[in-house]
């Protein structure tokens, strides 16, 4: 049996696939076959035909960042005229609006701003927690590593302080591709891949749930994509702290990597399906309508995804790179139902909420 057949047969019979098998699936398997296998796996993990979504708002507390990632169109230097740190007044308006629209969480992320110290973050979290009944999904690993380094305390200590102040869970951003030879080129100022994993390990050990992401479609190869997936799978075997995996594609406009052909829809769906097959220990797979648009996001529901992510009352980072898809809650629900699924709102831990049960 050749490697591809072996990989297909293992994936179809729910057996774990290794590096070479995963790579042969990504590089060689027929696109529909990948979809079929991923779909089968999805129904094995989630037998009910339900697709979930969360109502939340992205709040970017600052756009000042010293990371200097080549793929980013959002960040500004400290002294730039468009540089900002959010005011409490503005924060309050944004959270009030999110809650009034049925929001259950905020995604709180920002740049690596050298002018902010640990006290700022603690105060930010406490202010939100003291004033609003809302889940804080905040600070990706590069931000946490940056805060720890700046405060000269350990990642673990930093996390403890943030948790005490009200941090509820951590988004899986800043993972990009967890291979240092790629990270050094595209995000030289960001924590390396070991540190990203270390932050997640600490967070999981302290009882925080997190997600994991992958940004592909720039300068990486298929091997790097599989290496990324396996690093996540390995940590998940130890901690079981990842709730979901979210692959998404690099968007080139207004960034410093503007010469590559972006990943096409078919390439996205293939990576998504292979993610579903490799990450056999991560329960949820999210489709990225923000980078793919509503049509490919809906198609993704047949390629392994069981979640459409957030309604994103506000999104700034991808929009800065020239992509401006909108997906209101009603439209999201229509797409889910039209694909033959029940549409159910969830919280950050993927518990169903406000489910309308037909009697």
């Amino acid at each position: 049996m050749n490697l591809l057949d072996q990989a297909v047969s293992k994936a179809a019979s729910n057996k774990r696939i290794d590096f070479n098998e995963s790579l042969s699936l990504l590089n060689e398997a027929d696109t529909l076959l990948l979809g079929g296998l991923a779909n089968k796996k999805r129904f094995m993990l989630h037998p009910q035909p339900v697709v979930t979504f969360v109502i939340d708002r992205n709040i970017n507390y600052t756009n000042v960042c010293v990371s200097g990632c080549l793929f980013c169109a959002f960040y500004r230097p400290v002294k730039h005229k468009e540089a900002y740190v959010i005011s409490k007044k503005e924060l309050k308006l944004k959270i009030d609006e999110a809650i009034s629209l049925g929001g259950t969480q905020i995604l709180l992320q920002g740049g690596m701003n050298p002018c902010l110290d640990l006290d700022y973050y603690i105060d930010l979290l406490q202010y939100i927690k003291n004033n609003f009944p809302i889940h804080i999904h905040g600070f990706s690993p590069p931000e946490i590593a940056f805060i720890a380094e700046k405060s000269s305390i350990s990642v673990n200590e930093t996390l403890k302080k943030l948790i005490d102040a009200g941090l509820d869970s951590i988004p899986g951003g800043g993972a990009e591709i967890l291979v240092d030879e790629i990270r050094k080129k595209i995000s030289p100022g960001k924590c390396n891949s070991d540190m990203w994993i270390e932050v997640m390990r600490s967070a999981h050990t302290l009882g925080l749930k997190t997600t994991a992401t992958m940004m592909f479609g720039h300068i990486e190869s298929s091997e790097h994509i599989i290496e990324h997936l396996l690093k996540i799978r390995e940590l998940q075997d130890k901690t079981y702290g990842f709730t979901a995996f979210i692959p998404w594609t690099f968007q080139p406009e207004n960034t410093k990597i503007n010469r590559v052909e972006t990943a096409t829809a078919v390439e996205y769906l293939r990576v998504l399906a292979v993610s579903r097959l490799v990450l056999d220990n991560i329960p949820n797979l999210q489709a990225s309508w923000v980078t793919q648009g509503d049509k490919i996001a809906q198609t993704a529901l047949a390629f392994g995804a069981n979640d459409l992510g957030s309604t994103m009352i506000e999104e700034n980072v991808v929009a800065a790179a020239g992509v401006n898809f909108r997906l209101p809650q009603k439209e999201m629900e229509r797409l889910i139902k039209n694909a033959g699924f029940e549409s159910v709102q969830r919280d950050c831990f993927y518990n169903y909420i406000n489910r309308v049960v037909a009697i």
Binding site: V8, L37, N39, K40, V266, D294, K295, L335, N338
Partner: protein
């Protein structure tokens, strides 16, 4: 390993397709009603590969909309205007020349010409139009006038249909686009396009065109008020005529865009709608060689995906699509040849540039 077809109702269809049996109305309805998108795609892909292997076609083309003045005023149209309306136009021959000359250095293989039913334009205008285009682009195929326009031309030419067609052919017309079929249902016609050529006549005209040795395409406008049963019936009517004439080249499902139309309350078609229309067409229209994923209407991303769901053609590079964009299409107005080829090859298919008759360039 057997492909995991989850929907049990599709398995019977799969067996029929493998053994070359024709699908019936019930099968067509089951395809449209299935939520097993990849299962549906898998069966359609089998039929697609049997005809075309790994090839996926595109054409280097140019659109020409000679007038937007139209007496039909179909409810789903955002392009048409009444005479005297702001923005109403009819191109003069000089306009036609300058539009074509603007791109004269490009290797355009096909000129796609459609327009409204403009009562001011005499039959000689249409003959002049074709001759003018032919003169400037002698090597391009002129694909012009939907069956609805041909119906109108037969009325104004003072000649019977057959003679009208030969006059157009003599002037240089060599292919007929598939538009104007909409959905061949009286119920839908009465509600949305009461003034338009009725389906019986549309089919008659197509038959006459095929008999005059003109190839044509066929379309279906879906995603408005039509039912699944009406879609299947539409495809069956096309299949019957194709059995008789063999004159259809490609079928193109057209996704309805409601913005700026009188039906703007109708939401856009979804990816599942679009892909299932491609797959169902591939499987029901077993006597059509080509199924097009028209990227203007479903977006370039989904059109690329559609190549795995039964489509073998991405239509053209176009550059200045007007009709769908007036109805709010968010797709680009044109694609470069390189982009087209990249979309095809990164989906795992072999890009083949074709002429209107699917000869490889």
């Amino acid at each position: 390993m057997d492909f995991p077809i989850i929907d049990k109702r599709l398995q019977n269809i799969h067996e029929k397709v493998i053994s070359g049996k024709r699908l019936n109305i019930k099968d067509g309805i089951a395809l449209y009603k299935s939520s097993d998108l990849v299962g549906t795609g898998y069966i359609a892909d089998f039929a697609r590969r049997k005809r075309h292997g790994n090839k996926a076609y595109y054409v280097y083309n140019q659109h020409l909309n000679y007038t937007n003045i139209c007496t039909n005023r179909c409810l789903f149209c955002a392009f048409a205007r009444d005479k005297g309306d702001n923005g109403a136009f009819a191109m003069s021959m000089d306009d036609v020349k300058s539009v074509l000359l603007e791109r004269i250095n490009e290797p355009v293989r096909e000129i796609h010409i459609v327009g409204g039913l403009n009562p001011e334009l005499p039959f000689s205008y249409y003959i002049d139009l074709i001759k003018t285009v032919k003169k400037i682009r002698p090597n391009a195929v002129i694909k012009a006038f939907t069956a609805v326009e041909i119906d109108h031309l037969a009325k104004i030419s003072g000649m019977p249909l057959k003679k009208t067609i030969s006059a157009l052919k003599k002037a240089g017309l060599s292919m007929i686009p598939g538009g104007g079929a909409e959905v061949m249902s009286k119920r839908v016609k009465d509600k949305l396009f009461p003034k338009k050529t009725e389906s019986k006549r549309w089919l008659e005209i197509m038959e006459a065109l095929h008999c005059a040795e003109l190839t044509s395409n066929a379309t279906m406008l879906y995603g408005h008020i039509e039912t699944i049963e009406e879609r299947v019936d539409h495809l069956m009517q096309l299949r019957s005529l194709q059995d008789k004439t063999g004159g259809f080249s490609a079928f193109i499902p057209l996704a309805f865009h409601s913005e700026n139309t009188k039906l703007s309350h109708i939401p856009a078609t979804t990816a599942f709608d679009d892909l299932k229309n491609i797959a169902a067409a591939r499987l029901i229209l077993d006597n059509f060689a080509h199924i097009k994923a028209y990227w203007v209407m479903i977006g370039e991303k989904l059109a690329q995906v559609a190549l795995s769901f039964g489509a073998d053609d991405l239509d053209g590079t176009i550059i200045e699509e007007k009709i769908t964009h007036m109805a709010g299409a968010k797709s680009a107005k044109g694609l470069t040849k390189n982009r087209m080829r990249h979309l095809i090859s990164s989906a795992g298919f072999e890009p083949v540039e074709r002429d209107s008759l699917y000869n490889k360039i």
